[in-house]
Symmetry: C2
Subunit: 420 residues, 2 copies
């Protein structure tokens, strides 16, 4: 099994459930910290290395605080995410504001926080200038188009809605320089959940070469390169975690081959990984409600795609373990289902598991990124709580479960009409 | 164009936007009422015909009140949906509680309201009995397995997590009769968004035959048959709306062929359609933020998949019109995108539209069902408001837009920990 088991026994989980009923997401603080440190260590040769944690992956201020303590910044994509970063004590250039199709009011908020503005399109130069003027530092998101192949989840760059094209990017930097921008960054994001480390080395080659080219052709000196995120995690048994040292070594070689001869040393290099930071150390804990024998056998859980949408949205695999039945043979086949009236609300299809009984706890692995974050209220489902297994061994509530009154919150307002 | 245009001009929409900024969903009360009446008319020969509106399609109490006034009931799938039905004045057997993998507490709430309990699995008999005792009326959801083929959205019944199988259903009714249940219903749901009317006639044949069989073999007299929902709507140009009279005529013939000779006349027949009731008369109104020329041309809207997830989740087609540019040639090709950092956040790919400019309003059609309802907060996106274009011509707020404080609501709570 490649994914990390939850460091709690069935009896410990049952104790937690007495206070915090299932379903809940639980995050392992110790392992998240260790993982963050391992990432920093792997890239320690890089001048000013930083990972801007992609808030969208696990938007909880307590998680952001932990990562801030480990020296991470925040990659924000919207106004509420900017506010959350600030609540977690992450401000200034520790925030990278990478948003798509950005409205003026979000530039205003990002500028107020002193965040790095990463422009997703050439039209955004005007939106930015009109809303916040010309900042000292500007970054562009580069879209290489057919020069790169992308991967299955993010699609081909040439069909992606993001970024500035090869033809546009030199003019974009030149224009910003003319307008008075003093400091420049370069960013791309061309993969999602990619397990092939070489892909990231190729991304480094692309960005290092481009930074040198920009410098040569426009005189703009890029001060940092943001490699984007997209480092995958081993969801499936047999998947291998990405070897960060391999990526780091490959990048170092290219740094020496490309950046140093181009006079671009020292160059800060940063990432904006979310999934690989918290993904493997978050777990959705749920309880079996019913074992239903139909044309197939279904284990119906008290969680649903409201708590974890990846299997329904992408057909994604998530490993499932059964606390207390670790040593039972996995020889029964189940569809493990949620309770939504949507037939794709299945956490697993034809999965071999130990024989399950109503009341059993099940742990769905690798839900620490894009898990709670993608939850919805379809079918009137309420989103679950988030817990933190602290380093001191205590379990702490870090987000309460939604209540019926939350579901009805936006139905309470003053009567208002418009006459046409 | 098959989908219904929005009955508002650009200048009327701009007037609405002065009070209620885009994006918003707007529902056309008059057309929803007309549509509800047309459905009742089409099936008026049926003794006690009723449509239980699937709350999940458009969970807004004002919409439910309108449909209640038109004689509709509510099909609820969760505790919050039961509460919403009650808020809309729909109670007792005007509620059908059709839930999957149902917890005891939801049976308790449904029983309190006097709702019809529709059991999704044989294990639910015990859950129900333990939680609310044996009610006077019980319904079972039937899953025909390989006897039916299902359709693309809902999948094959033999692989569906819902219902009681052919082998189980006779015993299930017999057991409930022994336990003291006096009144019985029969339900199925084997299609979703199906445009072939004959499919529903086949469903009627299956259920009528089964009701006769149940009566013959167990002595149980089914008093109502719930045909389920699943009647589709013409999302795409060229799609044809389902002819309800055709379905009705086919059902009438089978009623005479099967139910009358079996002594099962009068038989109440009901539906639980959601999509076909409100779907075509709801619209997502959004504004173009940026026109981005990359390797393709993107029209970036102020809405996102947080407001409408069907294109991203199912690759669903939604028609798009541009108020004020109705007479312009549709000769520019756009990807119409949302602002989420998720590459599948596209409302349309390679769509021919009139030339768009930033600031243009666009109307995304057929969002009156499974539109707002499926919204999420991924990327920190806030869900939009819902408006009603009333019969009196005024536009009324029927759900306020989410605010930043709603996004943070579940992060406010008393510190609570568990010692392990």
């Amino acid at each position: 099994m490649s994914s990390a088991p939850l460091a709690l026994t069935r009896s410990q989980l049952e104790k937690i459930c007495e206070t915090f009923p299932t379903p809940f997401h639980i995050y392992d603080e110790k392992r998240i910290r260790e993982n963050a440190r391992a990432m920093k260590d792997a890239f320690s040769w890089i001048p000013g290395f930083k990972n801007y944690f992609a808030v969208k992956a696990c938007p909880n201020p307590v998680i952001l605080q932990i990562l801030r303590e480990e020296g991470f910044g925040a990659d924000c994509s919207s106004l509420p995410e900017l506010i959350m970063a600030e609540k977690a004590g992450i401000t200034g250039e520790n925030i990278m504001f990478t948003s798509n199709d950005t409205p003026a009011e979000e530039f205003v908020e990002a500028a107020r926080l002193g965040a790095v503005l990463n422009l997703d399109d050439i039209t955004h130069m005007e939106t930015m200038e009109k809303s916040v003027g010309i900042p000292e530092l500007v970054c562009f998101r580069y879209n290489p188009g057919e020069a790169r192949t992308g991967n299955a989840i993010i699609g081909h760059p040439s069909e992606a809605k993001y970024g500035v094209t090869s033809e546009q990017i030199l003019d974009a930097y030149s224009l910003m320089k003319e307008k008075g921008v003093k400091r420049f960054g370069l960013h791309t994001m061309v993969a999602s959940n990619e397990l092939n480390g070489d892909y990231f080395i190729e991304t480094a080659r692309m960005l290092f070469t481009l930074a040198a080219d920009i410098n040569k052709k426009t005189g703009v000196r890029i001060e940092f390169i943001n490699m984007g995120g997209g480092i995958g995690i081993p969801y499936k048994p047999g998947d291998k975690a990405v070897n960060l040292s391999h990526i780091s070594d490959g990048m170092k070689e290219l740094y020496e081959q490309i950046l140093i001869p181009s006079g671009l040393d020292p160059m800060r290099i940063v990432f904006e990984c979310g999934r690989m930071v918290t993904g493997p150390y978050g777990y959705l804990v749920s309880r079996v409600r019913h074992i239903a024998e139909k044309y197939k056998t279904y284990a119906g859980l008290d969680a649903s795609m409201a708590n974890l949408m990846r299997p329904a949205l992408y057909g994604a695999y998530h490993h499932i373990s059964v606390p207390g039945k670790e040593n039972y043979p996995s020889e029964k086949i189940y569809d493990v289902t949620g309770s939504l009236c949507e037939n794709n609300d299945k956490f697993a299809v034809d999965r071999f598991l130990p024989e399950l009984d109503p009341g059993d706890l099940v742990v769905i692995h690798d839900t620490g990124a894009h898990g709670y974050a993608m939850g919805f209220n379809y079918n009137g489902k309420l989103r679950s709580s988030e817990l933190l297994l602290q380093e001191n061994g205590k379990v702490r509530l870090i987000r309460r479960a939604e209540r019926v009154e939350d579901y009805f919150a936006t139905l309470s307002f003053d009567e208002e009409t418009v006459d046409l």
